[in-house]
Symmetry: C4
Subunit: 255 residues, 4 copies
């Protein structure tokens, strides 16, 4: 009898086969709570808004933490249905799972004395990942799986591109440091600073806070920029080919 | 007899099967009027040009508004052929259609007292959409449909990419605010400002009005920039695969 | 007898079937002359280099102009083999052909009095186009044709993308002008200036000389930037699909 | 007997068929030494870190150079197994091989008097290339070959794109110099400076240190920027098509 209720709760907060209405309502509720919680963090960062409405922010915060605490307790309570182990080991596994750590860390600052300044509430956004189930049903689900499948298949090629980009940034930053440091020591004080230039250049962002001024430095930067275009083209090409292959496979299945 | 004339007008201003010469002339005329009307807005924004030629601008404006008003009246007059309803309901449907609202809003400011400052004339450019028929005939039509078809098919994947980009911007902006605010409070006064940095970075624009200066901030920005390249690669890859699949389908149909 | 020599000259300066050695030597000679001529323009723009070596620059310039003048005369002399018309009409056609105009304009400044300041020598680089034949033979020829074929096939789609980009720039620039002009009238003095912002944003260059400072302006810019990523993705996707289709066709031919 | 040992050493430092454990340990050891060596260069560039730990840096440097010197001697000692020539010619070939030059140059500065300031230690990173064998085994090997194969196949098309980009930069820089030099002679003092602008624009980096201010210059820059998008799209499209074709070939082989 107690187990029936526990199973029912588990079905609502965890499992979702699309038929349980209470589960959907719960998901949407948590989703909205997370969204408003993030919105609160954004708004609180505006000093004037915070000062004007700090009372309401506090109330909403208390409300949010209560809900998330209840949710956390219920997850512990129903852990054994998730992990299919004894009560004790299921709870341990949940507490030290990625999900479990996110859950506790995003409510903990509230219970700690005010002296603790680090604010992990923004981690709540990771809870969105758990309730994206509400989107997963229906047509978004297929598209979501396509992206995941493509990225997983092409993982190795993407990692290799990343490693080569990093080596390119490293070599060009060391060279750039030797070339530019004597002329503008405040912009290129060390190789780490030069690497910041390297990343801003290779990704074509170019904030303009740091750039070469010598002829040699500009020639080097030109080479890096042009190779950069090529390096950006590689992951794009890979992902593109991955989607082509994926779409073709899906079409073949239909036939 | 009256209905014959009404139908003839409808055919000229609305329908275009490529055989009616008057309809083509009308389309080109409206197209040019819209183009010159937009050009006028651009030129009027130059104070010296406006002061020197304000008389001619006024004349052209009166002329434009008269034509667009006549066009609006004719569309009301012929609405029943478009919606196949009673006269009254056809007119109502036209007035509250997207097209109808654009039409009235882009001429209304002229009839309102000068006190009303908001200038909606630039909405006239949306009228271009209606007369792009002049391009649609022939080979541009096929290409136009290809683009539309690809974007519609890949809509879900594009939406998911957009949502993930937004979550990435949100998380990185919140972190960047915590990292950079203590050091440069004027550049990162709140999370909203940090989001402006996030968008400029993820899209690789990098205006250079706002960027991290701390080591931690730069490391964070580097990660965002590199992930950004990947995120840009996804829609490109999707659209690319969409076109590949579309072209293949077209080739298969020909065979 | 005279015609035999004329035909021989024509074969050397114009036609190249890969067997005539004199023709290849002539092509490489003109190619190098163009390259050095462009290099001269670049070097002359450095005031100190120009002052130090102006004597040698002058000698090289006289030499270049003599060669190009002789080449021009020879092309007139052999025009009839190119156009297969009477002597007179062949010469007329050559003089008013794109090639003929480039040829005359790139040597004319030399013969005009010094008072004429406009320097069209840089047009000589277009002569390179004519002698790229030296690359066309062999494996570069196939790749060159692939690019040309892809761009020609996808021309319509690229034109449509360009037109839509332009409309997007126009609408967003007009809106940005209304939003930003009251706050920073020196950065956004008129819509033309706002269009410069629009292009720098949509192409993700972001020089940083002009950007929105109001919240509304930043929101608008964010939308433009995100749509911009999509718009850049479209031509990339199209060209990508074009190459896929082209490579597939070539593979099918081989089979 | 001596030859057996020599062959054994050769197998460890050079050949790796995946079965020799000593060879793997050696590879990982050299790999880590290179990584720490590069890290040392980066850290030494920070003046305060260098001053605080210069003693430890020196010790590590001596250690590194000893190892790399021993490695260099062993490679000379075993050269004949690599090149299958007489002892003398094998050594000569090794010393003047790309690998051999990298090896000697990256340890030489240590043996030279302190007066020689140029520091080639960063070349050690190229040694990583040699030991990437440790990644090559297994699944990364296949992906690595895919990238190499695609880039090799599409080499000609990429070279042509590069040449065209260069011609575009050259023409637009010369024009930009003529247009902008009279107005801002300090930003565009000569065509070489204008080419720096051209590269920053065409690659969409846009540092913001140099940009046109005249209307004509901005129009020219807009054209370059838009063509630039197209030029970036070409290599992306080519690489994308290359991967599509490569993946298809691999799938066909499996069937």
């Amino acid at each position: 009898m107690d187990n029936t209720r526990r199973k029912e709760i588990y079905r609502i907060i965890e499992k979702d086969d699309g038929t349980n209405k209470a589960s959907r309502v719960f998901d949407i509720f948590i989703f909205l709570l997370v969204i408003f919680s993030i919105l609160q963090i954004v708004l609180e960062s505006h000093k004037n808004i915070y000062l004007a409405y700090s009372y309401y922010f506090k109330i909403f915060e208390v409300f949010t933490v209560i809900i998330f605490t209840v949710e956390y307790i219920l997850r512990i309570y129903t852990a054994k249905y998730k992990y299919n182990k004894t009560d004790f080991w299921s709870v341990i596994r949940f507490i030290f799972s990625f999900e479990g750590i996110i859950d506790i860390v995003s409510i903990l600052p509230f219970y700690l004395p005010l002296a603790v300044k680090i604010d992990f509430r923004f981690l709540r956004i990771l809870k969105v990942g758990k309730v994206t189930r509400i989107f997963k049903l229906g047509r978004y689900s297929k598209s979501f799986n396509t992206i995941k499948s493509v990225l997983r298949k092409e993982k190795e090629v993407l990692v290799i591109t990343l490693v080569f980009s990093f080596i390119l940034i490293l070599i060009s930053s060391i060279l750039m440091y030797y070339v530019e440091n004597p002329v503008q020591p405040e912009a290129f004080p060390n190789i780490t600073a030069a690497m910041w230039w390297g990343i801003a250049t290779l990704t074509t962002i170019g904030y303009g806070d740091i750039y070469p001024v010598t002829v040699l430095g500009k020639i080097l930067a030109s080479f890096v920029a042009i190779i950069g275009i090529g390096i950006i083209a590689i992951p794009t090409g890979i992902i593109s080919a991955g989607f082509v292959s994926e779409i073709k496979n899906e079409d073949d299945k239909i036939k």
